[in-house]
Amino acid sequence: MSDHEHDTGHEPHEAHEAHEAMERRLRASLGQRAQDVEVTPALYERIRRRRRRAAWQPWALGLAGVAAAAVAGFAVLPGLFETPPAPPIVDEPEPTETEEPVPGDEALAPLPMAVALVTDDLVLRSAEGEVLRSLAEPEWQVRSVAAERDWTPETGVVAFVADTPDGTVVGTLDQTDGGSTGASLVLPAEPNGAGVAVHPAGDAIAWVAGDQLFLLPLASEVDGLRQFPLQDAPDGLVVQQWVDQVDAPTLLATVPGGGAWSLPMDVGDVFDTQPTGPPLELPVGAGVVDAAYTPDLRLVTVTPAAGEGSAAVLTVDDDPVTLPAPLDAATELVLSTTGPLGALVDPTTGDALLLTFGADGTSTQPLDTPASAVAPLALGPDPQPEDDAPDVGEPVPSDPAELGLPVDGLLLGTDGRTFTLLAPNDATSTIEVYPAESEAVLGELAVRPGSTLEDGLVAVESASEGEVSVRFVALTPEGAAPVGDVVVASGEVTGIAWAPDGTHVAFSDDQGLRTVAVGPGGTAGEPLTWVPQGAVEDWVWAEGLDAATSGYVTLRTDAGSTLHAVERLEDAATLQVAGQLDASAQVVLDTHANDGAAVGPTISVTPGAPVALSWSADGDAGGGLADPGEVGALRGVAASGGQVVVVGEVASVEVTLEGRVRALPAVPVAWDVLD
């Protein structure tokens, strides 16, 4: 009897027939689904372009150097990366079962959260300090590093500036070959401040030396190094970052101690790009020593400590973050960002702070590193879990006395296995759901309305070995623990939202919208297939104008977000659609999170293009959305069903449509949106 027969309990001949029937069915299904897919004509060019970029590395910089030398007297550093160097892998991955080298398996080496550190060497290092790869030559002293926007330890271009026995070198490493290839160019004059920037798509690198801007395309069919004089440029302009804004690609640059500048470039193909005017000084003050943009193009600036008793400040647009000790006393700080991460480093002491730029704001985390400059370039994937069950760790509140504080925000950890609860007075509690060696990752998260740091429930999406589920984590005074049933999702969970009364969770997956009665023995409701495919964003009960309506669910789809009226039923499948709202309908949403307010304000929203937001407190209407938008803008409003906290007297407030709030002076408004 085969294993399969054991598994199914069939008699041998029945099992054989069943097996053959399943095989036929599988072959037919897989064959049909495979035929559904057509290769896009653009794929060939995409691959060609990537091949060229990879192939360019071993020799093209040499040619670029020759071309440049003819113009600018550059010398080519011979011998470097003449053959694609396999970087020394300090920690070899565990062998597979066969111990045979498996093509492409380099990408499978377990990489915990990885950052690139700049010391005397250029290395990839985990957040715990483990060296993953060492890339630079022994006698080189790497002084700065930059990477393309979506760089990971496996793919993408990294550029660096290094001092070598032959002079200052600008070099690149390309991760496209499963290892790293690279090339370098000796420079007659070193880049100001060793500043170098990589085009967001990895198509070119740029730096400023003296008052000259240099652009080096990284594709073999394009002319080599190009050079442009910068008119009216401040002395010592240091390139920091290349931002690919849709309508205004720009280089961000700073002058140490002298503020920040943007350098507008031509719109169009990167290989035709050139500066279109003199550097423009940004209105961030002269004390700024370093600046960068977050992925959503918020400007981050750093103002160092100016003397005894003063503190260094990180400012993300208008929101200042006072730096924790010992960075608050630093006089020189290095800031870098890539993807959702950034780092701030005191180059003198090596003290570092990991920054996470989220829609809900900026969070900081001290980084335990050796004395070095740090540039966090990307996150690597987490390793695989040994046990599928969540290993829920202890919460780590910032102040035990504040455990009873209501949770008013939730952030997914950058490692994908922790989340942080936010509470008033800057209190936080970080829950480790999976251990560091786990490869299970968290996705969507939602906290039950009314939860506190020591009494509450969090619904989390968990993905492990291709299986996605929704799990529940209880917050207790003793710590956090998994509770209730694991609900297996169909495909990817795209959103989770709690009912305002905390009795049910709605989540969206490939089957549509589903609801789950929460608690021990809770069962999943049937998929509500009437709901359009989309990601559930919010679930609010409402005091609607239609008496039959008892709630609203916002779904985010490719076409934008739509607001659906729902009815509450008696059984576990709690929601039943009552129809999509007319764009001009008015809905009155009760704000459930304002128990402390003297007067319970209500928020009125008008779905559809003419967005309007208003509310009343003490009978006075006020407020309004600053920008028109689609129903998707209602996410912030709908989140008010549990997440917007309006405290005290409300006079007026302006709201942007990305979940961020700009409060007028003296208006006490807090705004938190669950992710």
Partner: protein
């Protein structure tokens, strides 16, 4: 002036591409359920494998590409929680990916069940019953023992029966 890759190389690549790309993209799709991601996986695979092919480090290019696609697809799935953050800008027609027949796929209960298999079981099923590989070759592609392939196949079939029974 820099030069493009030599013509002879381009002709060689074009021939390999024409011969391999359809099968590789379809394999990647069956492993990832996402047409856009499938093309990304195949692009990654070509970029990784081609230099090694040129350096004479690869004996069987087709097999090497296939194995790289399987491994890269698995790696991509492991990173899906990060990629999802960018899905709105990367997926769909906006990046030129042709849409597959989603309606038909949704009504294919067997395909829906295959997508619920753990990734390793899914790989085994796709390689054995779509690529039509024998146990030994499947084990070689996945870098596991033949016993693992057999046990994973058995578990996958049992799980599929269970899922399809539950779907009735």
């Amino acid at each position: 002036m820099l030069h493009v890759v030599a013509d002879v190389d381009e002709r060689g690549f074009a021939a390999v591409y024409a011969d391999q790309v359809d099968g590789l993209v379809r394999l990647a799709y069956l492993l990832t359920s996402d047409a856009g991601r499938a093309e990304d996986v195949v692009a990654d695979a070509f970029a990784k494998v081609w230099p090694r092919w040129q350096r004479g480090e690869v004996d069987d290019l087709g097999a090497y590409l296939r194995t790289t696609v399987v491994n890269t697809a698995r790696s991509r799935l492991r990173r899906r929680y990060l990629e999802r953050r960018h899905a709105a800008t990367l997926d769909g027609d906006g990046r030129g990916v042709l849409q597959h027949d989603e309606a038909a796929a949704e009504h294919d209960a067997t395909w829906q069940a295959v997508q619920q298999l753990p990734q390793r079981q899914r790989e085994v099923v796709v390689l054995r019953f779509w690529e039509d590989l024998d146990v030994a070759t499947t084990a070689e592609v996945l870098g596991v023992s033949q016993g693992t392939v057999k046990s994973q196949t058995s578990k996958a079939m049992a799980r599929l029966e269970q899922l399809l029974e539950g779907a009735r």
